[in-house]
Symmetry: C2
Subunit: 190 residues, 2 copies
DNA sequence: TCAATTTATTAAACCAGTTTAATGAATTTG
DNA sequence: CAAATTCATTAAACTGGTTTAATAAATTGA
């Protein structure tokens, strides 16, 4: 749990006793490649922390996969759309590799936030960070060209190209595998 | 300040005394059409609540306007990318109409969050709501076609088409005014 | 290890958007 | 109110993507 503790403490100071007791709310889940944490029609009851591996957050429509996000080591994730209001999810959370995940149940987390101002603050600050990251993503999506977004992904998350199949990366970039292939060819020619 | 108080209380219970005292941190700003709250190169020092009017959150690159968001009545807004780390903004926050805004300074807000667990909780929950709204936006941007996104905007925010010039809406949708014009023509013909 | 399956590339026809430029409509301002 | 400016539409040529289909390469598994 050391990485998780370090992560939490990176947001705000938390008393040792509080943090240790908070750790008891998390349980470890091991996933094989292809296993899911969440499927459409189910409710996201947990918040997750990814200790090891790679998880896709995606939708499947008419046989087509639409990737919204790839999660890799040391991030919190869940389908927040379902988690917040406990509504049925439309998404998958699926292991793209063997994964180790720490899961904390929504009720437990809410109780922690109520009981501890420090943890509530951690909750606010981590949500704020998630928001600003997503905002940067929206900026890229609305302002940058496919080419710029591809090049940025190569730069910022080169590991993804090793661990994730190409057609999922294409989906994440909002183009088809054919389009991605053409884009790459065009780039390599210049 | 009634709308703002109602807004805050919609997230979580807050003691009257705490809320009343919190209101003292806000000051009212009146903007004429075209005036800005923030310009590139400046730091976002305040969080804002929009009492009345319409604000664009946009960037200007090579003479081109790229709209990231339109804010209308009863929402919180700022350039969170600049606000969080107090870095220089790359964006404008500009009044598209005469506006009335309530401004609270970052230091004051942070102090409120530190002093009151209730307000900290409000901070977390409003940030969470902002995140889930933005996530829905990312979903639409990455999954839906221009046509679908246009039709959804017409349905969900019809007021924007009355109060905002067309070319800004085109920019928000990620297309050119020419493209929007063609899209509309195509739709009207079916 | 070899067969089956999945994934990546290429080609060709197509299309929804772009750019540039011109015109017309609407809004702003002296 | 007229003149100036800004904004919206249209046309024409172009382009970066799409779709479909075929082939090649890589991965999986019996």
């Amino acid at each position: 749990m050391e990485n998780l503790k370090t992560k939490i403490l990176s947001y705000t100071k938390i008393d040792d006793a509080v943090l240790e007791s908070e750790m008891k709310n998390y349980r470890r889940i091991v996933l094989q490649k292809g296993e899911t944490l969440l499927e459409p029609g189910h409710v996201a009851t947990h918040m997750y922390y990814l200790e090891k591996g790679c998880i896709s957050y995606h939708k499947e429509e008419e046989g087509e996969i639409k990737v919204l996000e790839f999660y890799t080591e040391d991030v919190y994730f869940t389908d927040l759309l379902s988690y917040v209001n406990q509504t049925l999810s439309k998404y998958y959370l699926k292991a793209l590799e063997p994964c180790v995940v720490l899961a904390v149940d929504k009720k437990g987390l809410e109780k922690s936030f109520s009981n501890s101002h420090q943890l509530e603050r951690f909750g606010r600050l981590s949500m704020q960070e998630a928001f600003t990251k997503l905002l940067s993503r929206v900026e890229r999506m609305s302002i940058r060209s496919n080419e710029e977004r591809y090049l940025r992904l190569v730069e910022k998350r080169p590991d993804l190209f090793q661990r994730v199949p190409n057609y999922l990366i294409a989906s994440y970039l909002g183009i088809t595998p054919v389009g991605l292939s053409k884009l790459r060819k065009r780039l390599s020619k210049v």
